[in-house]
Amino acid sequence: MASVELPVLKPGDYGSDQDVRWCPGCGDYSILAQMKKVMATLGWPREKTVFVSGIGCSSRFPYYMNTYGMHSIHGRAPAFATGIKSCRPDLNVFVITGDGDALSIGGNHFMHVVRRNVNLNIILFNNRIYGLTKGQYSPTSELGKVTKSTPMGAIDNPMNPLSLAIGCEATFVARSIDVHIKHLADTLKRAAEHPGVSFVEVYQNCNVFNDGAYKYATDKALKADNIIEIEHGKPLIFGQNREKGIRLNGMQPEVVELGKGITEDDLLFHDETSPQPTLAYLLSRMRYPEFPEPIGVLRCVDAPRYDDLLNEQVAQARAEKGEGDLDKLFNSGDTWTVE
């Protein structure tokens, strides 16, 4: 509900007075710019917004936003945000995190904040590398990835953030790409407006330690064949000339050519509101190079939110028992008097 008296804010109003110190060319700049743009369209008072982050390049983000913010400790931002949101449901709380922060050291908290459906917006900057500690592999780095800590190649199977979030029954799951700015802005806006936990994975380029990790998804010549923009109620179509689609063969997705007897109606239609997470999970499993990778909203469903339930219990207890009276409590049960 936008009030007419609210000042109209511009993206620039969301920038703090601090110098931004990411490496030149870092994908984070784009995400920061889109976030400021989205903020200006939401009609929220700036002072009602809190950005919480962990540790890592991405986690410097709160310093650059002219809102309330907390740069916390590695991997634990979801826990700080849970405390804030539980006490203050009136605040809009964002968690800014990276692939190492959220999925490695913070894996436990990520899993739990998602399954609790705390009304937070979690934006995961995924560059598939540790940037701030200078180039070690991350939980999303591909098998065989050669880094300073894996000279013979990484031997741990990479994690799929979307699959993980969906496995924890996230109520809003989406993916976007740092340089795909309009798509990114739209996705961030939808995430911000979702009641409940929203999780957005943003493919983000680290041009110093992992340059071109997402070239297949960002290169003009390649991206049409390697990413697929999914939309609710629409068939899954992609390709330079929108000539390809995704069809279900039993439980398996397959890439098919349109024409030659295959029409749009044969394709898989996206339903982001499906109560079962099955379809969203299936989409999350489509990985380059076998499949085009989906960007957009994989899942958006409504479910009770932890912070609401907690505060409802407080309200219910007050309604049923009345506001707590300490003197009454102290004097309850067995007591005795010494004259």
Binding site: E47, S72, F80, R88, L326, N331, T335, W336
Partner: protein, 621 residues
Amino acid sequence: MSTEFESETEQSKTVLQIEEATVRFCGDSGDGMQLAGTQLTNTSALAGNDIATFPDFPAEIRAPRGTLAGVSGFQVHFASTDIYTPGESVDAMVAMNPAALKTNVADLKPGGVLIVNSDAFDKKSLEQAGYATNPLEDESLEGFQLFQVAMTDLTRRAVDGLDLSQKEADRCRNFFAMGLAFWMYGRSLDPTLRFIESKFKKLPAIAEANRRALTAGRNYGETTDAFVSSYRVEKAKLPAGKYRNMTGNQALAWGLMTAAKLSQKDLFLGSYPITPASDILHELSRYKNFGVRTFQAEDEIAAVCSAIGAAYSGHMALTTSSGPGIALKGEAMGLAVMLELPLLIVDVQRGGPSTGLPTKTEQADLLQVMFGRNGECPMPVIAARSPADCFDVGIEAWRIAARFMTPVMILSDGYLANGSEPWRIVNFKELEPIPIKHPEGPVDGKPFLAYERDELLARPWAIPGTPGLMHRVGGLEKADGTGNVSYDPKNHQHMINTRAQKVKNVAKVIGDQEVMGEASGDLLVLSWGGPYGSCRTAVAKLQSQGHKVSHAHLRWLNPFPANLGEILRNFKKVLIPELNMGQLSMLIRNEFMIDTVSLNKVQGKPFHVTEIIEKAKTLLP
């Protein structure tokens, strides 16, 4: 409901007046010994005695029946005088089986009353307890007043006709034992009958069985020829007022809720279950109508982090744990020091290191809470001295945290947490309010400085949602005043100095250290935390014998009271008894260059008064 106790039974046997008694119930974990002890405690408290208790139980929920590892005990000390300890040697012991007898009998006074459930002394149980011969038949128990009571059989007969399984019938044995103990000390059955009624409301057959077992135990004492006399302990001469019985964990929870109301705040607790701290979480979870929000986090780290989030958002924030959990919270506590937010961290200490002795008591986390964080990271530390004192400590800790914008560590321990004593009920209106002001907006159009300081070096607590005060906090070093990130070397030195000075400034408001006894003399016993009672009792005894001994008990471990050094130097010797290997001694020696004498014990048990007296005597002229 207020209850004035009246002795309800006409006694036909001799009644001996005694000043105090220490009674211990021991049996299998699962035999209901904690319940029996708690009931004797409550009913003794309601009878007007001063009480102190010591529950002692194994870490295993149900160790194999009849084994030495599975023995659970509960000791109650009740008296007509002011007492400070749960007693040492036991006057009367109820042992439910051979294993319980074996592990406990050494604490029974020569000539003490020993009541055993003779039904439990079968071949198998004797073997399990490692008895080569039956102690009821050999002469090993000759020095005690041994009463063999066929409790299993008597209980079964008492509940006969109630359509209970044998297992259900046998589970009532603890009520029989209680009834017998109640007779022996002239206790009213009423409080326990009321307990049965509310506890087993939905199980009328079980309630009736427990009532019958309890009454049967009392009647057995009254009628059997075996017992020729019972005992009476007069009401204690405590300060006038209305009292209730409180454990340390409950008192702490209530103190913290009271602190929240005094500061007109809602309380947020982020916690992860751990023995012996969990009961604080359980207790606070019951009071949502007091505005208490409890969050059972996924781990200790999330627990403290959520509390820091709550503090940032303007709530009274708390996290509760024990030593191993405090270790996990270390990094986040460092952040709280850096953010300069008010936060309470409760450490209910237990035996360590590592998992150690999870159900036993120790005071060995002092150095951990003083120094267990990276960098120069000082934090005020306050320690409770008795179960009821936990109430006041909760309030005082929050007063300091909110005034100074700092996390404060509260130390309790397993002995205080589970032990109980009478608490004089306070009147909320008579407690001093804890004023907290949040800045409401920029003053005179000047930009808001999140790290501008007042005369005690506290920064303002501006909370999200306030227009014009938007600021960012974080773990990176801050520029003085603005709080912006700063790597400037001189600024870092300045901020380290400032945070340390802020904690030192706490000494300006906590008041001077008090001394029990003369202000100078041959020996000062300096204590902190749970040993308060033993030290106080020991020093009082030594003083009554004419020794020039005094007692100082520290509430604040960081900072120390301003006059502490002067007090220490007024005595020829300083003895520091601690349930660790000399941690306070280390701090005192370092701070005051005084050669303290340590009395250390790490056996999972509190000090005996005699241990302190014996040590003190070696230091006296």
